[in-house]
Amino acid sequence: MFSSLSEWFSKELPAIGERFVNAFLPESAEEFMTIAESLWSGFTTTLELFALTLLFALPLGLIISFGSMSKFKPLKYLMKIIVWIVRGTPLMLQIFIVFFIPGIVFNNPIFKQDRFLAALITFVLNYACYFSEIYRGGIESISVGQYEAGQVLGMTKAQTFFHVVLLQVIKRILAPISNEVITLVKDTSLVRVISVIEIIKVAERFSSQGLLWPLFFTSVYYLVFNGILTLLFGYIEKKLSYFRS
């Protein structure tokens, strides 16, 4: 294409440079502000999905973990099968399935109006299964001596669980839970497969207009938010470091 290297240097390189500057640097402060704002509005969807997923999946996971430790075999195996399916298939596939089932199977596409709800249901179920396994590991790691001590002191099973075992379990599962929570922040970007507009989807629109920096700038949102979460978990860990179990 170019007859010599010097021609490439004199013609193409400056052009690359210009495109680079255009793509990576906002043209003006106003452009930066408007784009940062629309990115933020995409990020609020991310945050909403994140918060609601945790709100429902954390307790639901506890219920599933009790189910999978139940002495009632049918319940135990049902829970184990659900956890196996949910953990054994991609989250993206699950989002599609939940989204399409009402329309295709029941001829009632309820999620067409509320795509976010379909995403939320999938995330809650998916994360509850992951949490349930973490809880189960934590609960089973507590020595039977703690339960027996509760029993011989006349405490009920519920009292022993909530007043003796639970805090020890929380201390032990904090690290794996924090891993899952940070993964959740990033997994929220998957909801764009059913056209829920989250931050990366917004940024992608700008990149199709030739702007690359919004795509890079989304990482700032993720990094700041995950940074806050990391600090929060570090704080809880420190708060619970007063005892050893």
Binding site: G145, A149, V152, L153, H163, V164, K171, F243, R244, S245
Partner: protein
């Protein structure tokens, strides 16, 4: 009448018979030491007494009231179960203190939770509840003083030595006023230099009408503190009698061999 009576107690795990018919009784205020080689079923017996295992056969009676009877198939109410449970106290070999609570809270926790329930059921007034709570706390202070740990009141279990932990566990068990306090090898998880303080604490509890059942490998201690000694071997009581009888003039060859081994160490 005996305070505790155990009749024909049997327990097996799957196909292994661990207890093969245990009979003994205990008067109020008596201290019973149970000795015997490893695997003879001492822990299993204590666990059956404390409802941590369900025996296969037999009967356990406290003050004439059957707390366990294998022939009685009637289900017990939660209230009755709790009442029976609280007739016994158990100090574990491995303490099993609650790590997230202070020493003081370890002692008061069970009583406080029980108070919350009765307060709701009996519609106690705020003042009544506060008075009951203050009594629980004061009692914990007294018990801590008794085991010599008043200054450790606000410490956490991880800040204590093994001997101190075990003394807290003793105070915790005493807080619920069990009629029969059981100990399962209370010093075998401890360094040798710490066993003395725990044994002294247990010895100091003797007297009055406190009834205790102590499983131990400390022969000197059993000899000094017990009114009655049971030697167990292979799931049965091989020999029973006063410490003088068992340690002074053992009849059964198994007991003689057991005591000889202890001397050899």
């Amino acid at each position: 009448m005996e305070l505790l009576k155990v009749e024909g107690l049997k327990k097996s795990f799957g196909r292994t018979d661990v207890l093969m018919g245990i009979d003994f009784s205990l008067q109020k205020g008596e201290v019973l030491a149970i000795i015997g080689s490893s695997g003879s079923g001492k822990t299993t017996l204590l666990r059956c007494l404390n409802f941590l295992e369900t025996p296969n056969e037999g009967k356990i009676t406290v003050s004439g009231h059957a707390v366990y009877d294998s022939t009685d198939k009637k289900r017990k109410s939660a209230k009755e179960k709790r009442e029976n449970q609280l007739k016994f106290g158990l100090v574990f070999q491995s303490f099993n203190l609650f790590p997230q609570y202070t020493v003081h809270k370890n002692i008061t926790l069970a009583a406080t939770l029980a108070l919350k329930n009765t307060a709701k059921k009996e519609k106690m007034t705020g003042a009544q509840k506060a008075a009951a709570l203050a009594e629980i706390e004061a009692k914990a202070d007294r018990l801590l003083a008794q085991v010599g740990l008043s200054e450790k009141k606000e410490s956490y279990p991880c800040q204590l030595s093994g001997g101190q932990c075990q003394r807290v566990a003793i105070a915790r068990a005493l807080a619920l006023d069990p009629e029969i306090l059981c100990f399962d090898e209370p010093t075998s998880a401890l360094d040798p230099e710490l066993t003395g303080e725990v044994l002294r604490a247990i010895k100091s509890l003797k007297g009055g009408d406190r009834t205790m059942v102590i499983v131990t490998h400390e022969m000197e201690f059993a000899r000094n503190v017990a009114d009655k000694v049971i030697f167990m071997a292979d799931g049965v009581i091989e020999e029973v009698g006063t410490p003088e009888e068992l340690f002074g003039a053992p009849k059964s060859p198994k007991l003689r061999a057991f005591l000889q081994k202890d001397k050899d160490i």
